[in-house]
Amino acid sequence: MTRPRITILHDVVAFTDAHAVERPIPALERLWNRGWLRKIVIITTMALIWQGYTSYLDNDLLFPTFAATIQALIDNIRSGVLPMRAWASIKVLLGGYALGVALATILSVAAITTRLGNDILETLTSMLNPLPAIALLPLALLWFGLGSGSLIFVLVHSVLWVVALNMHAGFLGVSPTQRMVGRNYGLRGFRYVAAILIPAAFPSILTGLKVGWAFAWRTLIAAELVFGVASGAGGLGWFIVENKNQLEIPNVFAGLLTVILIGLAVENLVFRQIERRTVRRWGMQA
């Protein structure tokens, strides 16, 4: 029997500083790899174009300059008008959002546990999801009057279906192995849903919550544009209408900017943080 031939190589190249195993990337390149920095550059460029064009146009009634908008924003924040209006909007929004998410949870849990619940969710979402929330506003006004009741009604409608759909899709996507693991521990009913299904479906649920938030925010501002004053404290939408009526166009822009800023803040601070502490940390999302 012949033995297998083995040749052992001793002179493997020694990795010293010259061929380092790890090498740092140059500082400038590293900086440019930061997403936030690139975005700041984009935003700054856009602000400069805005400022340049409006200075050339020189018509504050049609299109105020970037500087005038920022000035109006600062003035309105200082006077406390904008924060008050923003808070009025956010308060209503949080109420509607919370109620919408709660209902969505009940619906989707019912859908995953019973066949009838599944049929109910499927029918309702396919019927009501395509219906724009704003289209319900006239009806809401009739039922709940001029007040936050109407706003909350349309908000719940705008949040409920998209959150329920995503939650349900998430529950359906939970791996059979993880379901079996949960049942192996003897978990049933509510404990099974809370301990296995919800965390396992969390990436989908979070997507639903994000989209639901964006829908709710848009719906609210739009609804406020149609009728803003709820018991004397209008929200941001009303602030925009009011200032347009008084031809305070820089204030209109300041209002729009606030809508954008709050939307961005929630997306980047709140949801990004939740994402980082949950699905990314758990390796469930890259």
């Binding site: 791996s175 192995t177 192996n184 521990y185 003897g186 296995i196 758990w282």
Partner: protein, 254 residues
């Protein structure tokens, strides 16, 4: 093995027929399968794919109701999943990704209210240490290799100190080298605590290495072909092993 047969069977499987129902047809997975597992057995269900070995294990775990026959664990009839039969799956995603290694091992202990938090934690860490993952106690599953994940799953099963540990091809998705190591580790763990394990595999070699008793199942539908004792763990020479392997091979494919 003689030392075991003096006790009553821990798991008694009597004439079990399992069927899957699809919208078009009913598929019989196993036909009147009977076997008995005694305390501290390393009982292997061996057979080619389609012999219903995994279905049998799932039914022992309580995920499937037999259409005929019964499962008894210490004389009690099995009809639903429970933590007295901890399962180790083949899939790497059996660990809950939102829990660290320790939390994964701890969770069943707490969820079943088996132990209070502090003793549960001690026991979890003890078993994590036993499978050699003490350094990774706070790691999340997605940072672990396949072999490490299976070790955590084994630690999780053992920490519950179940009546019987059910293992569904736990090493099938691992590379050959890791599989060998894991088989040795499982035997080492068994030497420590002599737990009872019901092990499913389609590898003849693995069955001989891991098991002390082997049940051979033939496919379509799964029926018992033979039941045999495996080789003694030490002193089994290569020749005896290959003889047994080809014997099993002939029984399964003849």
């Amino acid at each position: 093995m003689a030392e075991n047969t003096t006790d009553a069977p821990l798991l008694d499987v009597r004439g079990v027929t399992l069927q899957y129902r699809t919208s078009e047809r009913i598929v019989t997975a196993t036909h009147r399968v009977s076997f008995q597992v005694f305390p501290s057995d390393r009982f292997v269900l061996l057979g080619p794919s389609g012999c219903g070995k995994s279905s049998l294990l799932k039914a022992v775990a309580g995920y499937m109701e037999p259409v005929e026959g019964e499962f008894h664990l210490r004389g009690r009839r099995i009809h639903e999943p429970g933590p007295d039969r901890m399962m180790v799956f083949q899939e790497f995603d059996q660990l809950l990704p939102w829990k660290t290694v320790t939390e994964n091992v701890l969770f069943p202990l707490l969820a079943t209210r088996r132990l209070a938090r502090k003793p549960a934690r001690e026991r979890a860490l003890h078993y994590i240490h036993k499978v050699g993952l003490a350094q990774f106690a706070d790691a999340y599953p997605h940072t672990l290799s396949g072999g490490m994940k299976q070790r955590v799953a084994i630690a999780r099963g053992m920490a519950m100190e179940p009546e019987i540990l059910l293992m569904d091809e736990p090493f099938a998705a691992l590379d050959a080298l890791t599989r060998r190591t894991m088989q040795d580790e499982l035997l080492r763990l068994w030497d420590d605590t002599k737990f009872t394990v019901l092990f499913v595999t389609h590898s003849i070699n693995e069955a001989i290495r891991v098991g002390n008793r082997i049940l051979l199942l033939s496919p379509h539908p799964g029926q018992v072909r033979a039941e045999m004792d495996s080789l003694p763990r030490d002193g089994a020479d290569a020749e005896a092993q290959s003889r047994l392997e080809s014997r099993i091979h002939d029984l399964l494919f003849a």
